[in-house]
Structure formats: C-alpha cells, structure tokens
C-alpha cells in the first residue's frame, strides 16, 4: 500500500477530485457571499474576499411584495401538487408493484414516457385551454398542470420502493386476517416509508425548480418564485447584483434542505440493488 501513496498519479487523482469538490460548491458559496455585499464590493475587477457585510439585500428581498407573493405561490402550488401526487401516485404504484397484471410493463412505460413530452409542447396548448376556461394565471391551473409531473414521478419512484418491501411480511399479515387495504395502510406504507419520503422529496424539488410551464401559465397573479427571481435581473442597465444574489439564495434554500433526505434515498436505492 505504501508504494501507492508515493505514486504521483495518485496525488494528481486526489488533486483532481479536490478541485471538483471545490468547483461543486464554490460558485454557490460565492453567490451567498455576494448576497451579503454592498454593490461597490461586488463590482470590483479583483474579487473581494474581505468586506463589511450588509443585510440590506436580504432585507430588500424579504420586504418586496412580489417576492413574498412568489414565495406564497410556489409553496401553495408545489405543496398541493405534491399532496395530489401522494394521494394518487402511491396507491397506484403499490397496485403495480404488488398486483402484477399483463399491463404492468405498459403502465410503467406510459408513466415514464410522460417525461419525454417537451415542456413547450404541453405549455402552449395548456395556456390556450386555461385562457378559454378563464383559469389562466391562477394557482388552480398551475396545481393541475404540476400534478401531472408529481403523480408520474412519485409513481415511477414508488414502484421499486414497494417492491423492496419483503413479501413475507405482507403474506404474514394476510394470514393474520388483514384485508388487502389494511395491508397497504398498516404494512406496506410504514415499511417502505423511508424510500417513499425520498421519492416525495424528489418530486417536490422537481416542481419547485420548474420554470418554463410557470412562465407560460402566469402573467401577474400566479407567478412562482423562479419567475420573480428571473425578472429581477431585467430591471434596466443598473443591475442590482446584491439583490439578485440574495434572491438566488432564497430560491435555492428549499431544495437544499432536502439534501440529506435525497442522498439517503440514493443510498437506499443502491443498497436494494446490492441485495
């Protein structure tokens, strides 16, 4: 082993990895630092590492009505769509996982193929439809549209999660006189809970980050946070860099809260594969 340590190839490999790790987070850290800077400290030809921090940018962002409305819209639209995804997606996934029929393969492919649809191809007709029924630029329209995303993603990820529940436990419950529904409620759901939470968190991140559909389906009332953030950059020539950086930080925080859950989910997926 000692011989390996001495080899320059190994050192270079470690340096490349360290550089990649640095590149993964540094741009984000830099953005967070810029959010705490006054504009004069950002617009410098030599990047400033030492500066007097200010909370003005963050205060400005949190005091803007448009940002607060965007935050509210994002939370309501994503939260409701994820709830609908849970209520409709989990039972369907369980049925596919545990009651295989000859359509099971086709159903899985259909659910996956929804991901092939280019978002523009869905957004243009939906805009016309929502305009005609008078729901354009409202949260219900956005929630219904996002539900397509959340149901299919939760279903796709929950099928393997339910398949990972040991069959013996469910069989034992049947023998104990449980009905099919109570096996789902009392056995399958709690046992698969960890993986299911990962799947749900993933679907939340996906719709929270969604941009194109929200951009096309809202004009003023139903704008979500990504749309509001993207508009802040278009305020003429005098770009308020600090404010923009603060809005990027605000927008990025919720998905990052799920970092732990999602990396645990990833690990559990591969542990299942191992067995």
């Amino acid at each position: 082993m000692k011989q390996y340590r001495m080899r320059p190839g190994r050192l270079i490999a470690k340096a490349v990895l360290a550089l990649a790790g640095f590149l993964a987070v540094f741009p984000l850290v830099w953005t967070a630092l810029n959010a705490l800077k006054n504009n004069v400290d950002i617009i410098t030809r030599v990047p400033k590492v030492i500066f007097t921090p200010t909370l003005a940018n963050i205060g400005y962002i949190l005091g803007r009505d448009s940002v607060l409305t965007g935050l509210y819209n994002s939370i309501v639209a994503c939260g409701s769509a994820v709830l609908i995804g849970i209520v409709l997606g989990l039972p369907a996934a369980y049925a596919v996982a545990r009651y295989p029929n000859r359509f099971a393969g086709d159903i899985q492919f259909f659910v996956l193929s929804l991901r092939f649809l280019p978002p523009v191809a869905v957004a243009i007709p939906l805009m016309v439809i929502w305009l005609q029924v008078g729901l354009y630029d409202t949260l219900p329209a956005l929630i219904v549209t996002y539900s397509l995303l959340t149901i299919s993603v939760i279903m796709w990820l929950a099928i393997p999660a339910f398949q990972g529940v040991p069959k013996e436990i469910e069989e034992a419950a049947f023998v104990d006189g449980y009905g099919a529904y109570s096996v789902f409620w009392r056995i399958a759901l709690p046992v698969a809970a960890r993986s299911l939470i990962g799947a749900i968190a993933f679907s939340f991140v996906l719709v929270w980050n969604e941009f194109l559909i929200a951009l096309m389906l809202s004009s003023s009332n139903a704008k979500t946070l990504p749309i509001v953030a993207s508009e802040l950059s278009q305020q003429g020539m005098n770009v308020p860099w600090g404010i923009l950086n603060a809005s990027v930080v605000l927008l990025s925080l919720p998905p990052l809260l799920f970092l732990g859950i999602l990396s645990g989910f990833l690990n559990s997926v591969f542990r299942q594969k191992n067995n």
Binding site: F110, L117, P118, S147, L251
Partner: protein
C-alpha cells in the same frame, strides 16, 4: 386471497384516468392548434392544416434551432458521461470511504439547485469584468476581457458547462455507487494478471456496467431536452441565434416576438413526435 381483491382496480383506475386526461388533452390540443392560425393578438382563427409545418421547413431560423438543439444534446450528454465516469472512477480508486461520503454530498448539491439559480450563479461568474470565473483570465492577461456568453463560438459551451456542472457531478456519484456494487473477484483477478489501474476499468469494470451506464445516458438525454431555463436566463438564445434551441425559438415565436401561437405549436408538435419516437425506440432497445 390477493387475486380476488378490488384493490388494484380502485388504486389504479382513477390515477391512470387522471394521468391520461392530463397528458392527452394538451397533446391532442397542441396538434389541433398547430393546424390552425391562432395568434395571441387576435381572437379569431381558421384552419390552415399543414401550412405551418410547410413554413417551418423553409424557415432558416427553425433549421438553425434544430441544429443548435442537436449540438446541445451531443455536447451535454457526452461531456456529462465523461465527467461522471472520470470522477466516479477516481473516487473509487483514491478516496477513502469517509472522503467518498463527503464528495457524494458535495456533488449532489448542484443538481438540486433550481436551474434558474444555477444559471444566475454562473451568469455572474462568467461576467467579463466582475465575474469570479473570468478573474483568472484577467489576472493572467493583465486585464484583458473575455466574455464567453456573448461570443457565438463559446456561448453554447459556456451554457453547456452549467448543465454538466449540475448533471456530471451528480452522475459521478451514481457511477461510484455502481462501481461499489460490483463483485471484487474480477478486479482482483485482473490485478493478479498485472493489469494497470486504468486497464482494469477500461476492460473489466466499465464493460460490466454497460447496461446501467447506457440507462444513465438515456436519462441524461431526456433531461438535456429541458435546456430552456438555462438558456433563457443566461443568453436568451443569443448572441444572435447561436444558442437558440427549439424550445427557445418556439417560446420566442409564440410569446416574445410575434405571438404566433399556432406556429410555435407546430414546432412543439414536431419536437414531440421526434422525441417520443426516438426515446420509445431507445427504451425498447435498452430494455431488450
């Protein structure tokens, strides 16, 4: 006992019915709109059948957008796979198990970011005067200006680098996890035969992982279709039309420049047909 339950029907039918309605209504309606001549500014419309499609094939900007989209797919998919396999193998070779966990956590962060955020982060970083990514160039050249996002030759690659930053690092984690699932015996055997480290991976481990790596590439191909957010924030399709992909052009035709919803929809329908056919065929092949 399981067989006779009503559970599969009650659990599946409502969900599938809703998914079918939510996906088929917009899909069919997209085709209907593409056969008409709707515009955002005027309420009336009539049926023009295939003339939107005929116009597309003589529209040089559309043909450019097709070419840009193809370039985007190739550049992002290839670069992502190269970065992912490279870093995955490096982690497998030289990182201790504790460092692997640290890297895995770090490498997942970029892909979790909203693409709008990622795009802004790098748009600042690439700023010719104040950007952190262009700073080394200013330092070395003594203050020369390099503006990757506004040069036609580099803009696409600059935007693609953000996509690879998000997906390449994330896939590196998956490649590592895949390598960890391999049985150790073949690697040991190759080592006993005095195979070099890179030879072990080139001839033993990566061929063993061919199927999952192809699936991974398939996922990336689908995700690369969602380039709109990055391009919209970073370049808006510019400079000129150098980064104008199909969804960007459809969006600007339908909403920014002329409000020709039907024309945009015709473009979207062509994209939809192309992707559904391509990916269905690829998927059947991956599964077979």
């Amino acid at each position: 006992m399981r067989r006779r339950s009503s559970l599969p029907a009650t659990f599946l039918v409502p969900t599938l019915a809703i998914l079918l309605v939510l996906s088929m209504v917009p899909t069919l309606y997209a085709i209907v709109i593409a056969l008409q001549n709707r515009e955002l500014s005027t309420p009336g419309y009539s049926w023009v059948w295939f003339s939107n499609f005929a116009d597309l094939f003589t529209d040089r900007r559309f043909l450019n957008a097709v070419w840009v989209s193809v370039k985007w797919e190739i550049v992002t998919v290839v670069a992502t796979m190269v970065v992912a396999i490279g870093l995955g193998v490096l982690m497998f070779e030289v990182a201790s198990s504790r460092m692997r966990n640290v890297y895995c956590l770090l490498f997942i962060i970029p892909v979790l970011l909203p693409r709008v955020s990622a795009a802004f982060v790098w748009k600042f970083a690439y700023h010719p005067l104040y950007g952190i990514a262009t700073y080394p160039y200013r330092l070395i050249t003594g203050g020369l200006i390099f503006d990757p996002l506004s040069k036609p030759g580099t803009a696409l690659f600059a935007v693609a680098s953000v996509d690879v930053w998000q997906w390449g690092l994330f896939f590196a984690v998956i490649v590592l996890k895949l390598l960890e699932t391999l049985p150790p015996q073949p690697i040991e055997a190759a080592r006993l035969d005095h195979a070099k480290r890179w030879q072990i991976h080139a001839y033993v481990t990566l061929p063993m992982l061919k199927a999952p790596l192809i699936s991974l590439m398939f996922v990336k191909m689908i995700e690369s279709l969602r380039s709109f957010d990055l391009i919209y924030v970073m370049t808006r399709g510019g400079p000129g039309v150098a980064t104008e992909t199909l969804d960007m052009y459809a969006f600007s035709q339908g909403f920014i420049e002329s409000g020709k919803v039907s024309y945009a929809s015709a473009m979207a329908v062509l994209m939809m047909i192309a992707t559904v056919i391509t990916f269905t065929m690829l998927w059947k092949r991956v599964q077979a």
